[in-house]
């Protein structure tokens, strides 16, 4: 059904921004999972932290009329949830997956409950009084057709995520704290011997993860849209965790994984309009998830084998 002549309408300039727009919430979620993964904690509760952040952001923005305050309080709320997980996991040594799933279910229930008691509504909460995160206009681009379409009118948090990836990359691989974090993740006993307070580092990682998760939620409800809907994360947190695995908790590679999801989603949205069966198109992001994870694991395994064999041959470098 005219697919060929419509290719230009599917693969055009706006697809680039659409990809980035769909990826940004997942990138935030993936970074939230990446920082704890560096300390060898699988933050499966990303989804729940995000959902609580999304609700808090909308609630605060609605009551105070300030998007900035909304984002800040959402980050704090995310941190609070993450600290519950941290205490359960680090202090009481309970299984992180169980706590994480508990947090995810708890987040759905508590946001539903608060939506009902605070705002006396169900399902969807949208109101003109919810002040969204502003969009960035770059006046000097306005006269350049291609760049204007590409870069203007981005949400503030969409620009920020790029900066944020770079900050985390620097933090992980170029700072003392990053080195300690990775040491704790890879060999806690050695780290302890070296005088690193392992648990303190783990708490710090969880705290920052919570802040990022809250920001992810705030972006979802105040940046990507301007409303709160029950369970509005819809597995974006889990996709973030999958992307984090793909990137091996490296911020840049993780973001690449997220863009892959966003790309398959955006292309799918365009393909549907030209008679591609919806069932197939809707499957694409998940197919890509499985493929991407399988490939990245295969590469990782290959690299490990190589490293082992070089150890055996006694490579002293």
């Amino acid at each position: 059904m005219g697919l060929m002549e419509n290719l230009g309408k599917i693969f055009n300039v706006s697809l680039i921004y659409a990809t980035f727009r769909a990826s940004t919430p997942i990138i935030y979620a993936a970074l939230c999972a990446a920082i704890t993964q560096q300390a060898n904690i699988l933050n499966i509760g990303t989804e729940g932290i995000m959902l609580v952040g999304a609700f808090t952001a909308v609630a605060v923005s609605y009551t105070t009329g300030s998007w900035f305050l909304g984002v800040i309080v959402a980050m704090l709320a995310g941190a609070a949830i993450a600290m519950i997980m941290a205490v359960g996991h680090i202090k009481y040594n309970s299984e992180i997956c169980a706590i994480g799933m508990g947090i995810n279910l708890f987040a759905i229930a508590i946001t539903k409950f608060l939506l009902n008691t605070l705002f006396h509504t169900n399902g969807t909460f949208s109101d003109p009084k919810i002040i969204p995160i502003p969009r960035v206009q770059l006046p000097f681009l306005e006269n350049i057709p291609f760049l204007n379409q590409l870069f203007n009118n981005w949400c503030f948090t969409e620009w920020f995520v790029i900066l944020f990836i770079i900050i985390l990359q620097f933090l992980f691989y170029k700072t003392v704290w990053g080195l300690r974090l990775r040491a704790v993740g890879q060999f806690p006993m050695a780290a302890e011997t070296a005088g690193i307070r392992v648990n303190a580092v783990k708490y710090q990682a969880m705290l920052i993860s919570g802040l990022i998760g809250g920001l992810a939620g705030a972006h979802l409800s105040l940046g990507y849209s301007a409303q709160f809907v029950e369970n509005m994360t819809n597995s974006r947190g889990f996709m973030g965790v999958a992307a984090m695995y793909f990137g091996g908790a490296n911020p840049v590679l993780t973001a690449v994984g997220c863009l892959l999801f966003g790309f398959s989603d955006s292309v799918g949205a365009r393909l549907q309009a030209y008679g591609f069966p919806a069932q197939f198109v809707l499957m694409m992001p998940y197919l890509v998830t499985v493929l991407v994870l399988a490939i990245s694991m295969a590469i990782k395994l290959g690299a490990e084998r190589k490293r082992e064999s070089s150890l055996v041959t006694g490579d002293t470098h």
Binding site: Y92, N93, A98, G102, A109, G123, Q227, N234, A269
Partner: protein, 373 residues
Amino acid sequence: MKKVLSLMLVLALTFSLCACGGKEETPAATNEGETEAPAADAEGGDDAAEPAASGDKIRVCIVYTGNLGDKSYNDSCNIGATKAVEDFGIELKSLEGTTAQEWEANLVAACEEGYDLIIGASSNIADYIVEHGPNYPDVKFAVIDTTVDLPNVQSVSFAQNQGSFLAGAAAAMFTEKTDIDGVNEEAIIGWVGGMDIPVLHDFYTGYEQGAKYINPDITILQAFAGTWTDPLKGKELTLAQIEQGADIVMNVASGTGPGILEGAKEAGVYAIGVDLDQDNDQPGTVLTSMVKRVDNACYLLIESVVNGTFQGGTTSYLTLAEGGVSLTDFSVIKEYLGDKFPQDIVDKCAELEQKIISGEIVVENYEGFGPEQ
């Protein structure tokens, strides 16, 4: 310590699962938790056909396939049910759920509870009624939006194809009004649905026929979000259609819909609402809404049980003629567009409505839908 914590976790899990199950509409005054169902059996002997045994409240349970608060289909159903509570003093329980597993579990739980009437709020639930209905021959079931052919099930469905025909015609005329801000040169209109189910194809069939009645060469973009509860997905699909040239997009998507309306507003184009009057949800963006009187259907079903006129195995089909479906009066968008408001669309829609009612225009149905099936 670990044991205590894991116990607490289990508790938290159970709690949140219960909370997911849905909220209770009325204080369950006579409820005694799990002992209640057998007790009811014992005292009432059996509640075979008679409703309301000796002054007991009639108990109605509605199983939704989605959440309340969608400002669309489910809320419309709830409006009818709430009205029935006020008028007849029935006891109402609403069970919400977002996944197919939850819907089935909710339905079975409702069956076991011994309600006088169990309403499956949408066609998503039909398969489970077909599966479990025969096991509870004494329970009265009703299903809205589709037909289930069982002796204890009463069905109500709508001529959404007729209402959508008018919506499609309105959209096709609107996309030509290039003097209105945001309307482009191209004759392209959009349509975004929730889940890919037969009812939605009945909507689309009418929408397409209506649009092509006005302009045979029009391009209609179609997409399904695959969910009733992800507005962000709806928004992304809508923006994709807008980027492909659509300047008016109809949503048929329950809880996914708010995102569709928001996407249209953000891009400065227009949308068409569905099920409930959504003209005020994004005022100035929503041209009109294709209202489907799910509230009436729900109210009438409950009334039939209250009056003892419930008839299993029957189907009512609510069309344009009976006011089962209709367009809103365009008054909200009129305010926003001022003197650019295209009055001819309203007039043409009124004319088409008469032609459909008189039978001059026959709106096609998707396979399996229509008056006499």
